[in-house]
């Protein structure tokens, strides 16, 4: 019986499209894996050509991927990639760059200061807030424990 306002959201379940779990995961795996593979290639390149160490090569690698992702966002490709890759293009650092660039780009018509600059972190801000809060709390706890023992 669909005509039951109280249990409507339960009763319409047979009418909802089936999520292709396996295909979604496979696409996410391929796209995400490919982005990380590209990162590994850049990293190896920076180590062998520009004398970075394994520890310091991470910075230029991430910066390169961020640049590529920002440019792809500007050319309008990144959202098409994400339509296919799902989490595969959201979870890597390229997704972080995309959320920053797309938010800034969208509000361009409101001006450089009030549009681009104030909206830059409208989506990515949550990542920094939670990253900093969790790292600060965990850091203090670890320091406290290390001092005791």
């Amino acid at each position: 019986m669909l005509n039951d306002p109280k249990n409507y959201s339960e009763n319409i379940k047979p009418f909802q499209p089936k999520i292709p779990y396996f295909m979604n995961c496979l696409k996410a795996f391929l796209v995400g894996g490919f982005i990380c593979l590209a990162g590994q290639c850049f990293q190896t390149l920076y180590i062998s050509l520009f004398h970075f160490t394994k520890q310091t090569a991470g910075d230029p690698t991430a910066a390169t991927l961020i640049l590529i992702s920002s440019l792809m966002t500007g050319f309008g490709f990144y959202d098409k990639l994400a339509r296919f890759g799902g989490a595969g293009s959201i979870v890597p650092v390229t997704g972080f760059a995309n959320s920053i660039t797309s938010a800034a780009l969208e509000h361009k018509n409101e001006g450089v200061v009030l549009g681009i600059a104030t909206n830059l972190f409208s989506l990515a801000g949550a990542v920094i807030v939670f990253g900093v809060v969790s790292a600060a709390v965990l850091g203090m706890i670890r320091l406290f424990i290390e001092q005791i023992f």
């Binding site: 669909l2 409507y8 990144y78 990639l81």
Partner: protein, 339 residues
């Protein structure tokens, strides 16, 4: 008898659509209904510098085609009833600033198309206006950035999500004899059956559409076979089967005559998720395709039920569920001797 039972208006005088005008974006122009629209832009920005200007261009163009086809000027219009999906319906407000016609802004989300038409017909019928210009617009990018994410943001594809139609539709309502007659309107109630997912509006709006259609048949005493077509606004491939099932359970089977504008405007191979949505979805299908079929007489009587989800960006995050509405308007081919 102007009012039929509780929710339906039957207009005392013959009320006609003098003309209609439509403008659409590139994706709509490549869909199955291409050729039924007056203007098809081949880029999403419609030659303007940003999305907001693009949506204005769509509405401006739809109105200018509509006026030209009716052989009328902006100065001949007594009232301008318009609405859209942008914050505070700015598209309509700014178009009203340009055309200087006395203006009543209306908002019923995606049901605004039939809301403005019903109200316009009512005002002409009661004699408060001779010519009413009704218009609505929506633009994929303005809706996307307002209700979801920035247009270039790489979000995943949700299977129940609909795709906002880029376009605008306009119509002039008058007592002067035209080819298509506006006969009745059923004003909907706001229905909320507890769906809170803004990516699943088809499921949320189906009960509202069912309520309005059911009430319409109760009020008028007709049966579905009295209509050549019953179209809903933007229930999409998710909400359409739910609507049919909701009505079948109550003993009303509209399966043979029902179609959904959101499914008519795009073909299944276009990348639009579950189907089209937005004010322009029902507007361009009705004022473009259906108007043409009614005018030539290949459809005689059509019930257009435009559906709207009355949410904003914040309400789903506040855990509010989505209130929905549907307004129905009956359009008929004008017959000899309608007086």
């Amino acid at each position: 008898m102007s009012k039929v039972r509780k929710q339906t208006w039957r207009f005392d005088h013959p009320i006609y659509l003098a003309a209609t005008g439509t403008a659409v974006g590139p994706l709509e122009a490549r869909g199955p209904l291409s050729g039924n629209f007056d203007k098809a832009y081949n880029s999403l920005n419609c030659g303007e510098k940003d999305w907001i200007e693009a949506e204005r261009a769509l509405m401006r163009r739809a109105i200018s085609y509509c006026l030209a086809k009716a052989g009328k000027q902006e100065g001949d219009m007594d009232l301008f009833l318009a609405g859209d999906l942008t914050d505070q319906t700015v598209t309509s407000n700014f178009i009203a600033k340009e055309n200087r016609v006395p203006f009543i802004g209306m908002f019923g989300a995606c049901s605004t198309s039939m809301e403005t038409l019903a109200a316009g017909a009512q005002l002409v019928d009661s004699g408060y206006a001779d010519n009413v210009l009704c218009a609505v617009s929506s633009h994929n990018a303005t809706a996307e950035r307002q209700f979801r994410n920035p247009t270039e943001y790489g979000g995943p594809l949700n299977l129940t999500q609909t795709f906002t139609v880029t376009g605008a539709g306009a119509a002039i309502v008058t007592k002067e004899r035209g080819k298509v007659r506006v006969c009745e309107a059923t004003i909907g109630r706001v229905i909320d059956w507890g769906i809170g997912d803004p990516n699943n509006l088809g499921s949320a709006m189906a009960p509202a559409a069912a309520d309005t259609i059911w009430t319409h048949f109760q009020d008028t005493g007709r049966v579905p076979d009295d209509y050549d077509l019953i179209v809903t606004g933007d229930l999409s491939s998710v909400g359409t089967p739910i609507l049919k099932e909701l009505l079948i359970e109550k003993g009303l089977d509209i399966s043979n005559v029902h179609q959904d504008c959101g499914l008519m405007i795009y073909s299944s191979d276009q990348p639009v998720g579950a189907g089209g949505s937005g004010c322009a979805c029902s507007a361009v299908v009705t004022y473009g395709y259906l108007y043409k079929r009614l005018a030539e007489g290949s459809l005689k009587r059509v019930l257009v039920v435009a559906t709207g989800a009355l949410l904003n960006k914040a309400t789903p995050k506040q855990k509010d569920t989505i209130p929905c509405i549907a307004h129905g308007v009956v359009l008929e081919t004008a017959k000899e001797g309608d007086q």
